[in-house]
């Protein structure tokens, strides 16, 4: 029995369970309702349907998931004990590739045999797969019936089917949020572990407060002491991502959102908002080329013309400006949504006091929409910090500690990518430095987020 067939069969069973349970509940409840008391009936018949359908499907599906992982091993064991398998070579990879090929032919994933030996194994494979497939299907069906029957007997007018089904919904919501949390934990754990190894090679103080960054010299055996000073990277990150890019993105994004929600006519807003959102989707290579070949040379010429001779053709300013443009939608769209969500009565209240539209926006709407606005700005900063391509192409890779926006700087993320791609040895300080950088970045943004959360909590103005 094939996968899709079982799937269809189960889906059919589930549907039948749903319909029959619903019908039963409907009938029983009709009787109970007629007899008076209101709490004699608890859940809508549909919930009974779902309850029984879920009992039919979930145990069987769980079983099949387990079976799908167990049965290939059983199949292989069966095949290996067949006579044709005795001719297999002892060497691991050839052996497994022959087996794999035979399996592929047996399941129809591959047409002809590349290795003659595998042809003989096709039949044993077919047999074994058929055997275990059937066994699995039968067991799954039995489980489905058992589950369904158990649940079906519980259908009573006052049975709290809705509560059960909703508990499952809640459980799945919980599991979903756990997944998000597990991702975080996974990232933190891996960062922590590798950083720990890094810090056993490099003094954390040197790393955190050193002002010289040149990991390749460390890789060349020049010593770890003054090769891993990450301050220039932190500064570069802040300079490009949190200062220059934000100087572009926050005013443009926020003012665009304000204009579109409060001043522009709704049709304009309907078109402009998605149009601006396209800025976030232009691939960063494109921005990179744009920054490196159009903006950066122009900025350098400008800097030279105003007498900054040291201006380099790679500049923090070029990368930051273009990055700022890229993240405008993060600010504008999120701010737009939260401003639009502030109830009309708030606006009316302010306008009726004789406030101008801009006063209403600045003093009433923005404070009420603060969480969304701050959320958008945080996302934008995050995105700017995480960006690499533009920096590589337009700001260069040299770790300078400078206030000069026309100088070349680099960022933490860019260095992480540089360290992790290309030559990588997962036991050298050079590669591990990427994790330490990642960890510091994580901690810094964490602090940033905590502060933002506090600020929002303090200044948020909850309406309604």
């Amino acid at each position: 029995m094939t996968g899709p067939a079982i799937f269809l069969l189960l889906a059919g069973l589930g549907a039948i369970a749903w319909v029959s349970a619903r019908a039963r509940a409907l009938r029983l409840q009709g009787v109970a309702r007629a007899s008076g008391r209101r709490d004699a009936v608890h859940s809508l018949p549909g919930y009974h349907g779902w309850y029984v359908a879920l009992w039919t499907l979930i145990p069987a599906a769980l079983f099949l998931a387990v079976w799908a992982n167990v049965s290939p091993g059983l199949v292989t064991q069966d095949v290996l004990s067949s006579s044709a398998a005795q001719a297999l070579p002892a060497d691991g990879f050839s052996r497994s590739s022959i087996l794999g090929e035979a399996r592929a032919i047996a399941t129809g994933a591959q047409a002809g045999a590349f290795n003659p030996l595998s042809q003989g194994l096709v039949q044993p494979y077919k047999d074994a797969i058929g055997k275990y497939g059937l066994a699995g299907a039968v067991l799954a069906l039995v489980l489905a019936f058992a589950g369904g029957a158990y649940a079906f007997t519980r259908v009573r007018p006052d049975f709290r089917a809705r509560t059960r089904v909703e508990r499952l919904v809640m459980a799945s919501l919980l599991i979903a949020s756990l997944l998000a949390i597990i991702t975080t934990v996974g990232i933190v754990a891996s960062l922590l572990w590798e950083s720990f190894r890094f810090f056993s090679m490099v003094n954390p103080i040197d790393f955190l407060f050193g002002t010289k960054w040149s990991p390749q010299s460390a890789a060349m055996g020049y010593g770890n002491e003054d090769a891993f000073g990450a301050v220039p990277l932190f500064w570069g990150t802040i300079f490009i991502g949190a200062i220059i890019a934000m100087i572009v993105a926050i005013p443009l994004g926020l003012m665009s959102a304000i204009y579109l929600t409060q001043y522009a006519n709704p049709a304009v807003r309907r078109w402009m908002k998605p149009t601006l959102e396209m800025l976030a989707g232009v691939p960063t290579v494109v921005y990179g080329y744009f920054a490196a070949l159009t903006i950066a040379p122009a900025l350098r010429d400008f800097a030279v013309s105003i007498g900054i001779q040291s201006a380099s053709s790679e500049s923090a300013l070029a990368a930051g400006l273009v990055m700022g443009v890229m993240i405008i939608p993060f600010v504008s769209s999120m701010a737009d949504d939260s401003i639009a969500a502030v109830p009309q009565s708030m606006r009316d209240g302010s306008l009726a006091m004789g406030a101008t539209t801009s006063e209403t926006i600045r003093k009433v709407l923005i404070p009420a929409a603060l969480p969304g606005v701050v959320g958008g700005v945080l996302l934008a900063v995050s995105r700017a910090i995480g960006e690499t391509m533009i920096v590589v192409m337009a700001a260069g890779l040299s770790a300078n500690l400078t206030l000069n926006p026309f100088a070349s700087v680099t960022t933490v993320t860019t260095q992480i990518v540089q360290l992790l791609t290309g030559d990588q040895e997962f036991d050298s300080a050079k590669t591990l430095a990427a994790f330490a950088l990642g960890l510091v970045l994580f901690i810094v943004t964490l602090l940033l987020n905590i502060v933002a959360l506090r600020v929002v909590k303090k200044y948020r103005e909850a309406y309604d």
């Binding site: 809640m170 891996s190 204009y259 989707g281 769209s333 949504d337 600045r362 995480g386 990518v417």
Partner: protein
């Protein structure tokens, strides 16, 4: 309280000046807003304009008509037994180059694309009878001629183009091949389909994972989780995920999906899962903000007539929050669509010449394809790169189109 205030004297100079100032501020504010919108739009227009300028040429290709006498050519082919195998052994490249030189002169071999013989192969396969005829076949021009025909070539090549044009042998037409072929090494023959399909599959996986999980997480945290330090920690750390450099997600994908779960390398499945990790926080954050801004009185109203918390959420809160959630989804997916770094880690920065058949087949995606082409030696790839960018943007538009439609549909003011 003795001070009796009289109605404010709005006609006094002080008040008049004040009002004038406020109006000036109002106008300024409004102008700044307009300016911001226009400036942002101008950036976009500029980008689009430049890309269209460079990229539209990528959608056309130059072809040269060549008369080939199949019967007389030294083809090792039996018209009754045309198989793929026979064709690949039929010495077609040689035959093509002979035919071209015979028809157009000694240097003409450089005028047609080195892979022009594929056209012959396909023609023969489609109609074996051609082997007994003389037929005019239009072959793709080489990069040099193609560029010259588009006004961007060396003087010699341009002279050749003029000559061929004069003879009526040179045509420029829409490059369907670009939309149907996959990666290759000859810019006149490459296409975007493989990468497009890869992106499509990857985005489907990303959306299928990140949207439900993101929305569910946002709902759980905002509506059901008890507000305490634990939820604060969760909130902050999810916000923080958005700031984790994307390549770190690539590392996570590498170690979990490839090294631990043994999922196939370079596959859309793994790419999609990795990008989903990255997109999810954006959806969660936007979703929570959107959920927060649903007025509590709506929840009260529903609870008050006996809706269960789950019903309140799915019947009222979610529909009202959907526009905001979709905004998050749009920008999250847009970012995922344009992302390359994490995909490097899981092997999607690769030459993959066959379009993926499913989510477990090796695949590449549009931004990676763009990145790879932008680093190609041959200049013929420059316009292909821009053309691929246009395709990516169209993809982006189409993807956002649906979400935007839904968003506009659900948006309500109250």
């Amino acid at each position: 309280m003795t001070t009796k205030r009289l109605p404010t004297d709005w006609k006094s100079d002080v008040m008049r000046n004040r009002i004038a100032r406020r109006y000036a501020a109002e106008r300024r504010f409004r102008l700044i807003g307009l300016f911001a919108v226009l400036l942002s739009a101008a950036f976009l227009a500029f980008l689009l304009f430049t890309m269209l300028g460079n990229g539209l040429r990528g959608f056309t290709r130059t072809e040269i008509a060549v008369k080939i006498d199949f019967a007389a050519s030294p083809l090792l082919l039996d018209p009754n037994a045309i198989t793929d195998e026979a064709l690949s052994n039929a010495n077609l490249p040689m035959v093509t180059s002979d035919a071209v030189t015979k028809a157009l002169g000694a240097d003409a071999d450089d005028w047609v694309s080195p892979t022009a013989w594929i056209v012959l192969r396909d023609r023969i396969k489609a109609d074996p009878k051609i082997l007994s005829r003389t037929e005019t076949v239009t072959l793709p021009a080489s990069t040099e001629i193609d560029r010259a025909a588009k006004g961007d070539g060396s003087p010699e090549a341009e002279a050749t183009v003029d000559r061929l044009k004069g003879a009526g042998l040179l045509t420029t037409g829409f490059n369907f091949n670009f939309l149907t072929a996959s990666d290759g090494t000859d810019p006149t023959q490459v296409g975007i389909w493989g990468a497009f399909k890869g992106s499509l599959l990857t985005m489907l996986v990303t959306l299928a994972l990140s949207f439900p999980i993101g929305v569910a997480t946002a709902l759980y945290l905002e509506e059901y989780a008890r507000k305490n330090w634990l939820t604060d920690i969760i909130e902050v750390s999810i916000n923080n995920l958005a700031a984790v450099p994307s390549i770190i997600f690539g590392l996570l994908g590498l170690s979990i999906f490839l090294n631990f779960l043994h999922l196939p390398r370079s596959a859309a499945l793994v790419g999609g899962m990795t990008l989903a990790l990255m997109t999810m926080p954006v959806i969660v954050i936007a979703g929570r903000n959107a959920i927060k801004s649903v007025p509590p009185s709506i929840r009260d109203a529903a609870l008050g007539i006996g809706a269960s918390p789950v019903q309140v959420v799915f019947h009222h809160v979610l529909p009202l929050a959907l526009p905001g959630i979709l905004t998050g989804t749009i920008i999250g997916m847009a970012r995922a669509l344009g992302e390359t770094a994490p995909l490097l880690m899981i092997g999607m920065r690769a030459f993959i010449a066959t379009p993926p058949g499913g989510i477990t087949d090796p695949a590449t995606v549009l931004p990676v394809q763009i990145f790879l082409w932008s680093d190609e030696v041959s200049k013929g790839f420059v316009e292909k790169t821009s053309a691929a960018i246009i395709v990516l943007l169209i993809f982006l538009l189409a993807m956002n189109g649906l979400a935007i439609y839904l968003r506009n549909k659900f948006e309500k003011r109250w």
